[in-house]
Structure formats: structure tokens, C-alpha cells
């Protein structure tokens, strides 16, 4: 398994675009500079700033979208170039192959969120918009790690779709719809969609965020777990069929 993960990382070196996608982590901190810059007369609390830069649209839309694209790219090349046959001949276990891809998504997600955290701190502190406080920075880092770990699990269905398809039109369209659905369902029922459940877990203890009812962690993890297991089974079947 470790060999597979290492191979996947070595393959990533050839894909410059994957690294370029990390730049999306800077989007919300940059937007925040302009947004809060326009409110220069009001004192900005660090937590309020970080909530905007790292804990709102980034986990709701930007990170799921980027991870969906990454899942598609990771699966697409081997499918298109018919390299899977050679991998099965070695033999590489189908689940080992699937989880090695998942490990890449997990590590990438962590790097993305850490970059978001660092750029949020720099975007707030360097222009003098907020004060650097240990409490807020440690809270931000913990929350970013939470987002970084949970979101890849919520994206397992997209990875399974990418594994079951030869092209990338369907997986990328599924990514858009899946992300949009997760974002909208957040306001309706948090325990149906894995991305909404992830957001519920993250939002449970953010100061200033008022939820209609307390977050039920068990239900949220159950939702992510059920979708994750179902996706893994589906990926296993799809890979076994050789599609």
C-alpha cells in the first residue's frame, strides 16, 4: 500500500496543474482583503475574519470543487491510456489502487487547508486588518485540519464516479452538481449529504455561528460513513468489471 501511495506521489510530480490548483486556496483570503478593506472604519475581530476566509466558502464550495477535479484527474489518465490492464497484471489490488488515490486526495486536502490557514493569517495580519492572537490562530489551524481531513471522506462518491468512468465529462459535472447540492442542503437537512454533514461538524463550535438546533455529531458521521462505504463498494464493483 505504501508503495502505491509513493508511486502516486511520484506521478503527481509530472502534473503541474495539480499544484497550480493549490492557488485556489488564496482566493478567499484575497477576496477578504478587498471585502474587509471596504469596511475599514469597523474593527474586525480575528475570528470574524478567519470565518470568512477559511471556514465559509472554502469548505462549502472551493475545496470540494478542487478535490473533485483532483479525483477526476487522478483516475482519468490511467483509464484513458489503458494502463489499468498493466496495473492489474502486476497485480495491484483494486482496493489498494482506489485507496492510494484516496490518500493523495487526503494529503492534498490537508495541504490545501494549511495553505488557506497561512494565507488567511497573512492576509489579515500583514495589512493590519486584524491582530495576531494565539487563540484565534490555533483555533483556525484546528478547524482547517478538521476540514482537510473530513472533506476527502465526503468526496468519496466523486472518486467512485471517476473510478467507474473512462471519460471525465461526467465526473466533473457530477462534482459541480454534488458540491452545489451539498451547499444548498446545508440549509434544509444537514444529515443527507456528506458535504453538508462535514460542514455541520465544522460549524458546531465556531463562535458567532448560531444553528437552529445543536449539531448531532453521530448523525453527521453516520451520513459520511454510509456514503463513503457505499462509494467504496461501488468503486470496487466498477473496477472489478474493468469499466
Amino acid at each position: 500500500m505504501l508503495n502505491l501511495v509513493q508511486t502516486e506521489f511520484l506521478k503527481l510530480r509530472r502534473r503541474k496543474f495539480v499544484w497550480l490548483m493549490l492557488l485556489a486556496a488564496l482566493l478567499m483570503p484575497l477576496v477578504a482583503i478587498f471585502y474587509f478593506g471596504a469596511l475599514s472604519t469597523i474593527e474586525i475581530m480575528p475570528m470574524q475574519f478567519y470565518k470568512w476566509t477559511a471556514l465559509s466558502y472554502t469548505p462549502w464550495i472551493i475545496l470540494p470543487f478542487v478535490l473533485g477535479m483532483l479525483c477526476t484527474m487522478l483516475m482519468y489518465d490511467e483509464n484513458q491510456n489503458d494502463m489499468l490492464k498493466e496495473l492489474w497484471i502486476i497485480p495491484v489490488s483494486k482496493m489498494g489502487y482506489f485507496f492510494s488515490k484516496f490518500m493523495i486526495v487526503l494529503v492534498y486536502s490537508l495541504c490545501f487547508m494549511l495553505l488557506t490557514a497561512v494565507s488567511s493569517i497573512l492576509a489579515g495580519v500583514l495589512p493590519g486588518m486584524i491582530v495576531f492572537t494565539n487563540d484565534s490562530v490555533s483555533f483556525l489551524l484546528i478547524k482547517c485540519l478538521e476540514v482537510g481531513v473530513l472533506t476527502p471522506f465526503a468526496m468519496l462518491p466523486v472518486l467512485a464516479v471517476a473510478a467507474s468512468q473512462k471519460g471525465y465529462i461526467l465526473p466533473v459535472c457530477v462534482t459541480i452538481v454534488y458540491t452545489f447540492l451539498g451547499f444548498i442542503l446545508l440549509m434544509v437537512n444537514m444529515y443527507i449529504h456528506p458535504l453538508s454533514s462535514t460542514t455541520a461538524i465544522i460549524m458546531r463550535n465556531i463562535p458567532g455561528v448560531v444553528m437552529e438546533e445543536p449539531v448531532h455529531l453521530g448523525k453527521a458521521f453516520l451520513c459520511i460513513g454510509i456514503w463513503g462505504i457505499a462509494s467504496t463498494i461501488w468503486a470496487r464493483i466498477a473496477l472489478s468489471k474493468g469499466k
Binding site: I62, F65, I169, C173, F180, I184, L185, M187
Partner: protein, 244 residues
Amino acid sequence: MRTLLWAERLKLKRSKILWIAVFSAIMVTFIVFMQGQFQYYGHRYIDKATWYMTATQSLGSLYVFPAIIALMGSYMICREDQDDTMKSLVLVPVSISNLIRAKLIITSIFSVVLYTFLFVVTLTVEAALHISLLDFGMVLGFAKIYLLEGICLFVAVSPVIAVVYGLKKGYWLALIFAEMYSFLGLFIGQSTMRFIYPITAAFCVAGYYETTTVQFVISLCSLLACGGLSLLLLHGLNRKRDIY
């Protein structure tokens, strides 16, 4: 040109992308319907007449459709290179400029058809929920907004299609660029820049945002600039290719 348009239409019929776009549109209508179940001060959003048609148009145009339209356009253009069919087309001989023009025309028609489809679905749902509250003028107003949004959004994302064609790195790049581009519209839509930024300018021209005549003209100029920029980019790229 008519032959090229005919050929492009036939090629699209073989492709799954049309069905995927239709699936995305249906999913958007479903997702917004789900959002309509959200209760605000004891009332569901969807209980308010025209909320569904307004929300589907705005949410879809900010989060989903720019990416789908850009993907469609760049897919049609880039697939000739990726499938290595461009050589055969040049041997026919087909003018690359005309070919790209035909593909752009088909993409613009696709964009309008997608929004027409969306309009029909949302109108059906709206009629099923509040038939007594709908009047002919209101329906015509929404039809105008949807159709104009379709064409304006195509113009707004056309530079993305042209850039992706120039980069030659794969058509899914258009999806990423267009998604970022439309996502920024979410924030710019709340500022005075909304009349200039092409994605939100499309909303202004379509009539979603209330505008003065000057603001309307600014939005229109912004979209025309987008269209002009893409034509210039495509013209430059086609000339470069024609040399070879």
C-alpha cells in the same frame, strides 16, 4: 457554414455531453426545489410565488451553468485536436476559422436551449404550485430574463473558451476557469462593480438586477467587450494555425 453547423449538430448527437448538461439542469431545478423547503419565519421559500423561478435562474447562473457552457464550448473545439481529427478536417479542406465559428454558434444555441429548458421546467413547477398567482406579463418577463441570460452568459464565458483553446491543455480547464470566474460574481454582485463584471453584467442585461439606462449600457458594453476579446483571441489563434 450551413454544412459545418449541420456536421457539428450530428457530432453532438453522438456525444454524451448533451445528456450530461440536461442532467445538470434537472439537478439544479431539483436542488433549488429542495432549498425552497427551508422555513423562514414559519413560511417555506417555495410558498412565495415566483421565488422558484428567480432562485433557479440566479443560483444556476452563478454556480453551475457558466461552467457547463464553457465546458461545452471548449469540448467541441478541443476534441478535434485531442481525438486527432483536425488533420482530417484540414485535408477536406475545412477552414479552421469557419469551423471554430460554427462551433461557437452551436455553443450559443446550446446555451439558449439550456435556459429555455430550465424556463420550461421552472414554469411547470411554478404553475403547479401557484397557478392562480401567475399572470401572462409575469411569465413573459421571466421568459425574457431566462433567454437573455442564456445568450449573455455565453458571451460572458466566451473568453474562457478562447483562452482554453489557446492553451491546448484539455477542455476541463474551461470548467475550472469558468467556475472561478462565476464564483467571483457572487461577491462582485454585492458591489457597484456588478454592472461591469461580465457574469453579473449578464444579470443586468437580462433584467434580473434593476438598472438605470447608463448602468444597462455599461453592462452591455462589458459583454460586448467580452465577445470582442474572444473573437480577437480566436482570430489570432486561427491565423497562427492557418500558417501551418
